[in-house]
Symmetry: C7
Subunit: 75 residues, 7 copies
Amino acid sequence: MEPERPLDALNQARGKRVIVDLKNQKQITGTLKAFDIHINTVLTDAEEHVDGSLKRKVGTVFIRGDTIVLISAQG
Amino acid sequence: MEPERPLDALNQARGKRVIVDLKNQKQITGTLKAFDIHINTVLTDAEEHVDGSLKRKVGTVFIRGDTIVLISAQG
Amino acid sequence: MEPERPLDALNQARGKRVIVDLKNQKQITGTLKAFDIHINTVLTDAEEHVDGSLKRKVGTVFIRGDTIVLISAQG
Amino acid sequence: MEPERPLDALNQARGKRVIVDLKNQKQITGTLKAFDIHINTVLTDAEEHVDGSLKRKVGTVFIRGDTIVLISAQG
Amino acid sequence: MEPERPLDALNQARGKRVIVDLKNQKQITGTLKAFDIHINTVLTDAEEHVDGSLKRKVGTVFIRGDTIVLISAQG
Amino acid sequence: MEPERPLDALNQARGKRVIVDLKNQKQITGTLKAFDIHINTVLTDAEEHVDGSLKRKVGTVFIRGDTIVLISAQG
Amino acid sequence: MEPERPLDALNQARGKRVIVDLKNQKQITGTLKAFDIHINTVLTDAEEHVDGSLKRKVGTVFIRGDTIVLISAQG
């Protein structure tokens, strides 16, 4: 059965590696631990990437939903 | 019968290829899988395009609604 | 009788050609098919114009309301 | 009696010529026909001005409230 | 007795000359006539100032609250 | 006992000198008189600082909450 | 047991050193004292960093939630 609601799709990504693109052009990669209806998101084992290169390891990170552009699976 | 409400028109695009124009000038193309009243949107088999050329394949992607400018059919 | 509420005026433009000015400086022209209280708007036979020249034909397009500056009749 | 609420003042401008300053630096002049609590506004016989010079006549125009900086009487 | 809530302080400025600093770097001076909980504000005998010099007299002006940075007394 | 909610911490700063950092890069210093849940804030004996130097004295000032980045004690 | 909701993860960081990345490119480090559902946040023993170097010590600081990009543990 296919997901019908956007948050269902996010839910299927729980526990998997994802890439979060932010409005400030940065990308945060990590394991999707939690999210809410505002798309506030928590990643574990997270890394911050700028222009495709690793900038810092950030461990567990809370990302405020309104700074997020999109969330995709880490290939 | 013609659609009367904007979300009806989006609903008719479910399962079809669409182009999503983002506020950050990028375009995401993919198959429209799901959306909600905030226009949070999920595409499958998605690709990110910048200035008309393919930048990366992103598979299934969750797009936060407030970053979207418009959604049109992929010609 | 004159319109008293802004959405009444939009309603009178249904089925007519309109110009939608976006915050990103682009203009979308098309036939006004639907809108809601957020001013999410659907146009058919739509075209995207940048600096007054046609950039692409977009067919039926869903425009997120918060990206819209103004909507006027196509002269 | 003086107006006590901001929308009362707008109401007194109905049917009169006004100047609407937009966040994108443009000005729209026209006859104030309608507005709502979001300050979505409809002008008739409207003109778009940029840097003080007429850019185009836009007839009846719907302006989304969140793009408006201020509304004043046309002197 | 001192004001305890921010809108109480605004209320004490009714009928007095104020300076309204806008997000677009302009200042509007005038007599504070009305405001609401969104800080939508009406000034009378208002003037627009840019970089400290008078740009135009705007008479009675309605300012949308979300464009306001701060409101202070005109010294 | 330690504050548990952010507004409790603000409440403890009432009547004390604070520095308010704004999104437009300016700082307003003054005595914290009042604030509400939107963080609309009133300062008395306030001063506006740009790049660390005093720009003007603004007396009692109402600051719209959504322009505020942070509020700290004046050292 | 793992956190399921984003605010649970923030709650586990109470009393610990965190780094708060702001939309204006600055970072505030400090001990997480309090936060609410808007992600309004209070840090104690806080410092402001710009481009990785200490700019000022700000003691106890209230940060308005909508200026926050992300919150991570200070390594």
